[in-house]
């Protein structure tokens, strides 16, 4: 990828479509370069994929990274439960259960160590 010249990560407006270029497109105040070294084989695989989608290489990379990053963030920030898991979760929250003997003993050991 480092061999590919990418000036900025802003989307390039296509000259053939002046209508689209006329759209109010907010340009981000600051841009940064993203560089990554990969095999020539992978690079051309990515390039072909970008061509298939009719995107520039930069557009393709940015879109793909956006999706991957959103997924990674989501995994560490939230969990979407299924219907039966939602029910089980809420039932447990509202149940007001008491801790088991094993857990109570573990907490007791912990507190004793902390006081020592």
């Amino acid at each position: 990828m480092s061999t590919q010249r990418t000036e900025t990560m802003t989307r390039s407006s296509r000259k053939s479509k002046p209508v689209q270029a006329a759209k109010t497109h907010k340009r981000p105040a600051k841009t940064a370069r993203v560089e990554a070294r990969t095999s020539a084989r992978k690079k051309s695989f990515y390039q072909r994929a970008a061509d298939l989608k009719g995107q520039s290489f930069t557009e393709f990379v940015e879109d793909s990274l956006d999706q991957a990053a959103a997924l990674a963030h989501k995994e560490f920030e939230a969990l979407e439960l299924s219907a039966r898991d939602s029910k089980a979760f809420v039932t447990a929250l509202l149940a007001d259960a008491a801790p088991s003997r094993t857990l109570t003993a573990a907490a007791k050991r912990y507190k004793e160590r902390m006081e020592a």
Binding site: E77, A78, A88, A92, L94, R109
Partner: protein, 173 residues
Amino acid sequence: MHQVTEEIEFTVEPLAKKHKRADFSCGSEPLDRYLKNQASQDAKRGVAVPFVLVTPVNKVIGYYTLSAFSIELEKLPEAQVRKLPKYPDVPTTLLGRLATDQNYRGLGLGEHLLMDALHRSYRATSQIASYAVVVDAKDESAVAFYKKYDFQQFQDRANRLFLPMSLIKKLFS
């Protein structure tokens, strides 16, 4: 198996520069790498708070991370929803990682770290609402470890388990 000895001295502290973690080895490469390369950055950015279990010479022999986490619920019956504080998103605490050095097994350090994490999570509820502690279990033995301490496994997310804060409260108040 090691002989269980309670002789070892240690404390649990928020990760700081003075903590030596170059030799940490828990048997899982990603968990070792996280502690060595990523944990400080996560702390700086507020993504997760790492806590380390250290010996008196600041050698790290265990750690865990806590972060704010949200459980998103499916549609539920009106009667149940009314009793919930914030539907459909329930604020919880994620215990994302927990690891102990493999040279210090059989000392109950994993249990101590888990109790410390539960205790801190509970104390934090005076500042931030949290209705459960959610854990990420890397494998079957991790699942078994958490189940032993009353954690309940999600049926459709088998690598995630939870413990209601109301239950944790009973341990520490």
